[in-house]
């Protein structure tokens, strides 16, 4: 279980998070929605120590994330970054097997490569892709490789940051389906950041909307359409008019 307790974060005068309280249950797939620049990515980065909150605390299975042993703690997580964040200096299989080539999870080279190829196959990529470099792949293939890397070490918790950004609608659908399958199959706890409502439909068990640095609404996916919250309704229906201020 991941519990965010009163999380605050500001970058200079920009107060991004203003007291976020949210709980993600074990094995649950939580999707965070909200406008651009509302701090969705910052929120998941606070869990991994990539961004340090100014105030509040984050508990993972009851343990404060600032009090844990970093290596062991991080080995429980997988993350798919918005742009893929693949290491362009190494071939695809080494990207996927990165964690399996060093540290506590280190495996013999041949075994690490075998696992990488198996994970690539799991995300729908042929073994021939393993020896190519990220720059030689399309955006959709890069997302799949990034997904394969996120699941390579069998994590308990996976974060997906804008998994469909920059992809065409068909490829977005494919990636959403793949994420859903993997989340169910591995039984992981998942947090997905998105503004893509098709991702919400496919991936979410629960949905939370972040607005002005706080959780505006949180509920099940089924309740989203009838939330009764004007902010959520405006966002879901993509209306320019409503309580959410827009720049025109």
């Amino acid at each position: 279980m991941i519990a965010f307790e009163n999380i605050y974060k500001a970058f200079g005068l920009n107060h991004v998070l203003r007291g976020v309280n949210l709980t993600v249950g074990r094995g649950e797939s939580m999707v965070i929605i909200g406008g651009s620049g509302t701090g969705k990515s910052v929120l998941i980065k606070t869990v991994l120590g990539l961004v340090e909150p100014d105030n509040g605390r984050i508990l993972v299975d009851g343990q404060d994330v600032t009090q844990v042993k970093r290596d062991a703690f991080l080995s429980r997580f997988g993350m798919l970054f918005q742009g893929g964040a693949l290491f362009d200096s190494m071939p695809v299989w080494q990207n996927v097997a990165f964690r399996l080539q060093r540290g506590a999870l280190k495996r013999p080279l041949a075994e690490a490569r075998e696992i990488a190829i198996e994970k690539l196959r799991r995300v729908g990529l042929a073994p021939e892709v393993a020896d190519r470099f990220p720059a030689e792949l399309s955006g959709g293939m890069q997302k799949r490789v990034s997904l394969a890397r996120a699941i390579a070490a069998e994590p308990e918790i996976i974060f997906f940051d804008e998994p469909t950004t920059g992809l065409d609608p068909i490829m977005s659908g494919v990636i959403n389906e793949l994420i859903r399958e993997i989340v169910v199959e591995m039984g992981v706890t998942a947090m997905t950041i998105t503004h893509d409502l098709s991702s919400v439909d496919t991936i979410a068990d629960k949905v939370a909307m972040l607005h002005r640095g706080t959780i505006q609404w949180c509920g099940s996916r089924a309740d989203l359409a009838q939330s009764g919250d004007p902010y959520v309704e405006q966002f879901v229906n993509g209306r320019a008019d409503g309580p959410i201020e827009t720049l025109r």
Binding site: L48, L74, S75, A85, F87, R102, L105, R149
Partner: protein, 262 residues
């Protein structure tokens, strides 16, 4: 005190605080990088790639620069020495000039241009594309995986490159002196060897080590602290080369004072 005076004092104070805190951040970064040299895990593959990039691949530019500098130095010393009837000092001055000053400084500036810029651009791009964040989430410390191998490679490749630059620079002077200034080759070499002391060579190697360290450290520091987007990458690259060049020249003065002021 007038309001204008207060503003000036305030601006000066701000400048001092900013400068000292920037220096403090840099020193802490350098200490953190060096501390990882002695703590496992060690990424040998990354170290050898960095050594290849900093050392071996810098050889052509360092060699060519040193060759032409040594040759030009021989011509200048011959011309200048002739003014007070001492053109025969060419081998000694070329040797001392290359080994004590020009060899190390040329190497420092060449690797600042070639290596510092490439390290800064690579790391800044990695930061902008979230590859640094990805490293952290994959339980790998960027300081250990990216910074330490490059800084160690700079420390080790610097003296080697300086030795090459010194030798090729002296050779450039030798070619010009024997082919166009009609010096006797054997006498030229003998004068060169007899004139150089172990302190000259030691100072040259120490400078090489220091400049290799500065060049790689600046690339890593500015790369990992870059701003966002393409503009951030460009600014980090520019700032890293400027800082490395200035620090190398300042360190050269400090090391020259340490070795030769007694």
């Amino acid at each position: 005190m007038s309001a204008q005076m207060i503003l000036i004092v305030r601006a000066l104070g701000r400048l001092c605080i900013d400068s000292v805190s920037a220096l403090g951040r840099l020193v802490l970064f350098a200490m953190a990088a060096l501390s990882h040299v002695f703590r496992p895990p060690f990424y040998r593959r990354e170290f050898f790639i960095a050594l290849l990039n900093v050392g071996y691949l810098s050889l052509p530019v360092v060699g060519l620069t040193a060759l032409f500098t040594g040759a030009a130095l021989a011509l200048q010393i011959y011309s200048g020495g002739s003014r007070f009837n001492a053109p025969e000092v060419v081998p000694q001055i070329v040797a001392i000039g290359m080994v004590r000053e020009l060899g190390p400084v040329l190497v420092g500036l060449m690797i600042a241009a070639r290596v510092t810029s490439s390290i800064a651009a690579e790391m800044a791009t990695m930061k902008v594309t979230e590859q640094i964040d990805a490293l952290v989430t994959l339980s790998t410390a960027p300081m250990k995986y990216l910074v330490m191998p490059r800084v160690l490679a700079g420390l080790m490749a610097g003296p080697g490159l300086v030795a090459v630059a010194d030798s090729i620079g002296i050779f450039g002077g030798f070619i010009v002196a024997t082919q166009t200034l009609h010096f006797n080759p054997a006498t030229y070499l003998l004068n060169t060897i007899n004139f150089l002391t172990s302190a000259d060579i030691l100072s040259s190697m120490a400078k090489g080590m220091a400049f290799g360290f500065i060049a790689t450290l600046m690339g890593c520091y500015y790369g990992l602290n870059s701003g966002r987007g393409a503009q951030g990458v460009g600014a980090a690259t520019k700032a890293s080369v400027q800082a490395a060049a200035v620090l190398i020249l300042a360190a050269n003065f400090a090391l020259t004072a340490v070795f030769f002021t007694a």
